[in-house]
């Protein structure tokens, strides 16, 4: 559990970080480090350089710009939990962050690291897909943006290209809505056995808008579009919910690991989708 040799840098600006990253060839940026450092200790990844983003003030903080909430990539899970802006505008982030690991991890673990690493076990990517968030990315040549819904390509594979750094997450603030993040885990600090994020808007007793996304039920987080479509335009009754659950189960492709067999995880994954839908509906109506 001892990493190989690497250089360590702690730049003060994104430009400097991008320059160091470009120079280092196989360097990695370091956010909270809770995924990267264990991988390095196991020597499953051996970057020649670590570029620590911790001293870049511009990457921290949460602000509201028009109808969007912009969260700096180096904002910690704890800062999300402590933010009144988040509580008021995006309470699902609260509900999700509190389920991530434990307080010690949340003081250090960042939202940027959580969304950018491509670990299917991370909780925030599915939530970001449900919220239709956009990732702001700094690169060696120019900045660009990628939708969360287009970001995840495979287990630990993302749209991020060599030399690029996620700098912020921009989330459209939804109007009056119901939400839920339902997560089954074996113990505090564990990755999800199955989890589901649901956002629902009701209008005149019918579901007007819905987004559903799944955590750790496939090699990537999944946007369950057919499941959401099964609800939109319908009254929030058991038949509609059953149809949505069945559609969500159809796209699940979970791994066989110590959390359970694929059959179990699909079965329980559907149940957690159902619970999240029901809770989101109750909140939307309340």
């Amino acid at each position: 559990m001892i990493p190989g040799t690497f250089e360590y840098h702690r730049p003060k600006s994104v430009a400097e970080a991008a320059k160091l990253l470009r120079k280092s060839k196989d360097g990695r940026v370091l956010a909270g480090g809770h995924s990267l450092l264990p991988m390095m200790k196991l020597r499953m990844t051996e970057p020649s350089a670590l570029i620590d983003l911790g001293a870049i003030a511009a990457l921290r903080g949460i602000k509201k710009t028009g109808t969007k909430l912009v969260i700096g990539a180096m904002t910690t899970q704890h800062e999300l939990l402590a933010s009144a802006l988040v509580a008021k505008n995006l309470p699902i982030l609260h509900e999700t962050a509190i389920l991530i690991a434990d307080p010690q991890v949340r003081y250090v673990g960042t939202i940027g690291g959580n969304v950018a690493n491509g670990d299917p076990g991370n909780d925030m990517p599915a939530v970001m897909m449900a919220l239709d968030a956009t990732y702001k990315i700094a690169g060696p040549t120019k900045a660009r943006v990628v939708k969360a819904r287009a970001f995840y390509k495979g287990s630990y594979e993302t749209a991020l290209k060599a030399g690029e750094i996620v700098t912020a997450i921009e989330i459209p603030v939804p109007g009056k809505h119901g939400f839920a993040y339902e997560k089954l885990k074996r113990k505090v600090g564990d990755y999800a056995t199955a989890a589901a994020a649901v956002l629902i808007t009701l209008k005149a007793g019918k579901i007007a808008a819905c987004a559903i996304a799944l955590t750790n039920l496939a090699p990537t987080p999944l946007l369950a579009e057919a499941a959401a479509a099964a609800l939109v335009g319908r009254a929030p009754d058991d038949a509609a919910i059953s149809a949505a659950v069945a559609a969500a189960r159809k796209i699940m492709d979970p791994a066989n690991d110590t959390r359970g067999t694929p059959a179990y995880r699909k079965s329980v994954g559907g149940i957690y989708v159902e619970r999240a839908i029901k809770r989101a509906i109750a909140r939307a109506a309340g």
Binding site: L184, K187, T193, D257, R259, G260
Partner: protein
């Protein structure tokens, strides 16, 4: 005596003796980060060793190339089996009479087996060196399933045993067979089964798990070439035995070996055995002439140093139709992994598994254990239990529940019907033990009353009806477990380790000012010996606990003892402490008599000194007597006040308890909630109730973990799937249930203070209580026995197999 003199109660309280909830004195340093553990030891010029480990579970080693590794800056040496052969240490003896490779000799037999030892100037350089060692492996067929170990075509694992038709414990039936061990009367048992009204038979598996102490195994070895002396600091639960073994295998004279166990961060059996890391650090220090440190990481600890359990028990009970047990028959298939490194007393290859008749009056019984080799890590150790006692308790407690179900009887009622009665003690069990004492009916009834047993059964009936009516998807289980432990190994007539009788020892020295030092042959790994040993002495001789320093773990200063495991410290060393204290008290009485100018028979001991009978004002405190011991002893008496006792116990002690678990399970997700857990323990005389409760809480938490998900799991290729705490279940405070503790007191009749040992009872009794609760919950839906561990997904699998999942 005047009004200002302290009264009896105040004097007693000042002693903080037996029965006092004295705070743990060792916690002053532990809670401030001032403990001194092996990894805190830093010696000038110290080097670090790290292992190259096998990625294969079974492979031939065709070559090891160390050239690149030797070029890594800081790397000084790479040891392989070839180098170890030069000092005759490529293999080492195990506690179970087998031999084990220290470094892979020609082949590897389990994943993460030690292949080479890289020695470097710091641990980073050592890790880089490990990466650079090139090993050429040729994969061989892998044997993981113990049930296939004795197939005709099973791969040959132990080529070193070729042609050996018998081992340390008798004949071997197959090339992967280690031993067969039998106890009891086979013919009488068979006869009882032939006549029985009712019989049950079930394969009850206790899966492989691991003790996983907070601190991993580690050592620092320092060989002084000039003096020819070896000093080893290590995480040893039994430092004296380690010294003897080190002397026997290294040929360094025992007086020139100094073994020191500093503070040890938990053992749970994991630190009883000898591991390749210890040997390699010693050899590396001899080779380099410098101190060498070896520190295991978590993955190494979980995957290579000793596992526990992996017992597959086929249990049969014969009974009358009204539920009186007539006979017990058990066959065990024991998976020992690649080497039999079982930590048992030498003549007991299956430990004390013959306690499997439990708390019940079985007229006859027979058990047989077959040990086999597989391509898994070697072991196994007693994880917070006396040797194989938790396996035995799990087996009988599950089997009794299965019998109750077949008879349509309440499991508590069946137990009450078959308990050994109080008037039957001392009780000779059908499998050869003499139970010293017990009062099972009282304990069981107290437990049933406290938990509200009849009301819980009523509630369960209603819930079952609701479930069947489709009103709920929750099922409720009530787990009953009544265990009898066998601890305090042990009497020399039964027990030895490599020929050394399993006594223990204490040396007490009273200083002139009336304070004292006590040195003991055991070694606390968290059990609070520094606190509780002082309490025994305080009550025995009347010196306050606070004035007594307890020291363990240094083989140069402590008297020889067999160490701390199997809940033996209190039954064996606790007795030695009391006996040494009584020797001091006897001499103190003579001195007091001389001081008070009376015959010693005219004195009586009174809390903290001696008083002349009938003349209460004539009193000498232990403090005054201590001073006198160093300047005015009676003529002809040696000065000083000290004593040594080596205690060979006449029998084991038999703690027992009644545990109840109330659990709800959602069949659709398999998610369980532990609603209540009640644990009544009878460990005889209670030295420190707070320490006992702490031990019970810790043991129950481990039992909860084991029953509900903690396992060492392998895939078909012999790869460990649970090699880190991400997958190996260690519950946090959030998952851990609330524990309700209770007790009865049935003192051991043969122990000087009547104490029996408690540290392991909660693990022994806890596991069946949890498992019985799960099985009880599913029972009304048709389940007879669901194998552990009962994690969420397996509960769901159980529900699915019962047709409960659409």
């Amino acid at each position: 005596m005047n009004d200002m003199s302290p009264n009896k109660a105040e004097r007693e309280a000042k002693l903080e003796g037996m029965g006092c909830r004295r705070k743990r004195v060792e916690d002053v340093r532990f809670t401030q980060g001032k403990g001194n553990f092996v990894d805190d030891i830093k010696l000038p010029g110290m080097l670090f060793g790290d292992f190259v480990r096998s990625p294969y579970a079974h492979a031939r080693i065709k070559g090891i190339n160390i050239k690149k590794a030797m070029k890594v800056p800081g790397v000084l040496a790479v040891l392989t089996a070839t180098e170890l052969k030069g000092v005759n240490l490529a293999w080492m003896p195990t506690l179970a009479g087998d031999v084990q490779m220290v470094l892979a000799d020609g082949k590897v037999l389990f994943q993460n087996q030690e292949v080479a030892f890289v020695v470097a100037t710091d641990r980073y350089a050592a890790a880089d060196g490990v990466e650079a060692v090139e090993v050429d492996y040729e994969a061989l067929p892998v044997l993981v399933d113990p049930f296939k170990a004795m197939d005709k075509n099973a791969p040959v694992l132990r080529e070193d045993l070729k042609g050996k038709t018998s081992g340390a414990h008798g004949p071997r039936k197959h090339h992967n067979h280690i031993f067969e061990w039998t106890m009891g009367d086979k013919d009488l048992t068979e006869a009882a089964f032939r006549k029985a009204d009712v019989t049950i038979k079930e394969l009850i598996s206790y899966h492989r798990t691991h003790p996983s102490p907070l601190e991993t195994c580690q050592s620092v070895a320092s060989f002084d070439k000039i003096k020819g002396e070896l000093t080893v600091w290590g995480t040893f639960q039994a430092p004296h035995v380690i010294r003897t073994v080190a002397s026997l295998i290294s040929t360094i004279p025992e007086h020139k070996i100094h073994v020191i166990s500093p503070d040890v961060g938990g053992g749970f059996g994991n630190k009883v055995g000898a591991y390749p890391g210890y040997i390699c650090s010693i050899v590396a220090s001899i080779v380099t002439g410098k101190p060498v440190k070896w520190v295991e990481d978590r993955i190494e600890n979980l995957t290579a140093t000793s596992f526990a359990r992996d017992y597959h028990m086929t249990a049969e009970i014969a009974a009358t139709k009204d539920g009186k047990v007539q006979a017990l028959r058990v066959h065990v298939l024991a998976d020992h992994g690649a080497f039999d490194a079982c930590a048992d007393p030498s003549k007991w290859p299956a430990g004390f598994f013959n306690i499997v008749t439990g708390s019940y009056d079985f007229p006859v019984a027979h058990c047989a254990v077959d040990g086999v080799y597989t391509n898994k890590a070697p072991g196994g150790v007693a994880y917070r239990c006396s040797f194989r006692v938790t396996e035995a308790a799990y087996c009988i407690e599950r089997a009794m529940d299965i019998l109750a179900k077949k008879l349509n009887m309440d499991p508590a009622e069946l137990r009450l019907k078959n308990f050994i009665r109080r008037d039957q003690f001392p009780y000779q069990s059908a499998l050869g033990w003499e139970y010293d004492s017990g009062d099972y009916h009282t304990a069981m009834k107290q437990g049933m009353e406290k938990i509200g047993y009849p009301a819980l059964r009523e509630e369960q009936k209603r819930k079952q009806a609701d479930f069947k009516a489709g009103k709920t998807r929750d099922i409720m289980g009530i787990g009953v477990s009544f265990f009898t432990e066998i601890v305090g190994a042990g009497p020399s007539k039964n027990c030895d380790i490599l020929g050394i009788a399993m006594f223990d020892s204490c040396e007490i020295r009273i200083h002139p000012t009336g304070s004292a030092i006590a040195r003991v042959g055991t070694k606390s790994t968290g059990q609070a010996h520094e606190t509780t040993w002082a309490q025994i002495i305080a009550t025995e001789i009347g010196i306050p606990s606070a004035d007594i320093m307890v020291e363990e773990g240094n083989t140069d200063t402590a008297p020889y003892g067999l160490g701390t495991y199997g809940s033996r410290s209190t039954p064996v060393a606790g007795a030695a402490i009391a006996m040494a204290a009584r020797k001091i008290k006897a001499k103190a009485q003579m001195i007091a008599a001389y001081m008070l100018e009376v015959h010693e028979g005219d004195l009586q001991f009174d809390i903290d000194g001696f008083r002349v009978k009938g003349l209460p004002e004539k009193f000498k405190s232990m403090k005054e007597i201590a001073w006198a011991a160093y300047h005015s002893v009676p003529p002809g008496m040696e000065p000083g006040l000290e004593a040594v006792s080596y205690y060979d116990p006449p029998n084991m002690t038999y703690p027992f308890g009644a545990y109840f678990c109330v659990m709800d399970i959602d069949v659709d997700t398999g998610v369980y909630k532990i609603r209540r857990f009640y644990a009544l323990d009878d460990c005889g005389t209670r030295i420190n109730p707070m320490v006992i409760e702490g031990q019970v809480h810790g043991g129950l938490t481990e039992a909860f973990a084991i029953a509900m998900g903690q396992e060492i799991r392998y895939d078909a290729g012999g790869n460990v799937l649970t090699g880190s705490f991400m997958d190996f279940f260690i519950p946090t405070a959030v998952e851990t249930p609330v524990w309700e503790t209770d007790h009865t007191v049935t003192p051991s009749p043969h122990h000087p203070i009547g104490a029996k040992g408690v540290g392991e009872s909660p693990n022994v009794g806890g596991v069946p209580a949890f498992s019985n609760a799960v099985n009880d919950a599913f029972g009304f839906l048709g389940a007879t026995h669901i194998q552990m561990p009962h994690d969420y997904w397996r509960n769901w699998e159980a529900a699915k197999s019962l047709g409960l999942i659409k």
